[in-house]
């Protein structure tokens, strides 16, 4: 079904999963309303290039669509490095969860 490979997390499908997701599969509704600290992005790029992403970004899955509201600097660092995927901790959420994040 094209679902991403599970590379960690719980095996029984209970609780959040750690998965590599293609960057373009993550919708980031707030991205254009906030600006990142470019020094932080640069530092993260250096560190990710050397040792990879240490802490996965949090992603919420609602009806098969992935939404990211945090990990803004880590996401931009991946974009700038041209990496195709990013390590995500995926939690299932509801429309209500989504609504809370858009307020």
């Amino acid at each position: 079904n094209g679902s991403p490979p599970v590379i960690g997390g719980s095996s029984g499908g209970v609780g959040p999963m750690i998965v590599e997701l293609p960057l373009e599969k993550i919708r980031r509704p707030l991205m254009r309303t906030r600006s990142n600290d470019q020094n932080k992005v640069k530092e993260l790029m250096d560190s990710i290039r050397q040792i990879g992403l240490q802490v996965p970004i949090d992603v919420i899955e609602v009806d098969g669509t992935y939404y990211g509201f945090s990990g803004c600097h880590r996401y931009e660092a991946h974009q700038k490095l041209g990496l195709p995927t990013i390590r995500c901790k995926i939690r299932k959420g509801t429309k209500e969860t989504l609504r809370h994040h858009l307020r």
């Binding site: 906030r34 802490v55 949090d58 919420i60 945090s70 809370h100 994040h101 307020r103």
Partner: protein, 201 residues
């Protein structure tokens, strides 16, 4: 309460409150009217602790707290979460979705009375919109912005507005033109005198 319904908030006395807050990982009482005659106050509301939205504006206000201190201004953050939630949030470091220590208090509005009196409560969700108020030393609200839909607030813009406001209050015969920053020419609110401004720019 009647005041909130009848009068616009800006230009009028800020609704007073006394509430519990977390500061320096301890519980304190914050009373808004205690700042009257002493400090300007930036009071800002955010929806909830521990959401997965980058808390950039909350940490930015803390990172630049010394600049606000120089302007004799205290920053106060408010949400409807309990003080215990606030404490857990500042005790969680930024990497793990927490805030880390802040240089200003986070107020708990569990009764939602503060959010209600400042007109930012979303009634059917029980949380506050992203409202920000600048209150002067006399306790009068001089500025407000309210954002919907997760749009963050700019610390730079808040700083600029605060400085413009303080300039006007110290120089009551002048007004600040659009986009004014400290050190720039201001304008005299008089047709003849405003020529002074236009000829100088």
């Amino acid at each position: 309460k009647a005041q909130a319904d009848d009068l616009p908030l800006v230009g009028n006395k800020a609704p007073d409150f006394e509430a519990e807050a977390v500061f320096d990982q301890e519980f304190i009482k914050v009373k808004l009217s205690d700042y009257i005659g002493k400090k300007y106050v930036i009071l800002f509301f955010y929806p909830l602790d521990f959401t997965f939205v980058c808390p950039t504006e909350i940490t930015a206000f803390s990172d630049r707290h010394s600049e606000f201190e120089k302007l004799n201004t205290e920053v106060l953050g408010v949400s409807v979460d309990s003080v215990f939630s606030h404490l857990a949030w500042v005790q969680t470091d930024r990497k793990s979705g927490g805030l880390g220590d802040l240089n200003y208090p986070l107020i708990s509005d569990v009764t939602k009375s503060i959010s209600k009196s400042f007109g930012v409560l979303i009634h059917d969700q029980g949380i506050a919109l992203r409202g920000l108020f600048i209150i002067d030393k006399e306790g009068v609200i001089q500025h407000s912005t309210i954002n919907n839909l997760g749009i963050g607030r700019s610390v730079d813009e808040t700083m600029r507005t605060l400085q413009a406001l303080q300039y006007i209050q110290e120089n009551p015969d002048e007004v600040c033109p659009a986009g004014w920053k400290p050190g720039e020419k201001s304008m005299k609110p008089d047709p003849k005198l405003s020529k002074e401004y236009f000829s100088a720019i």
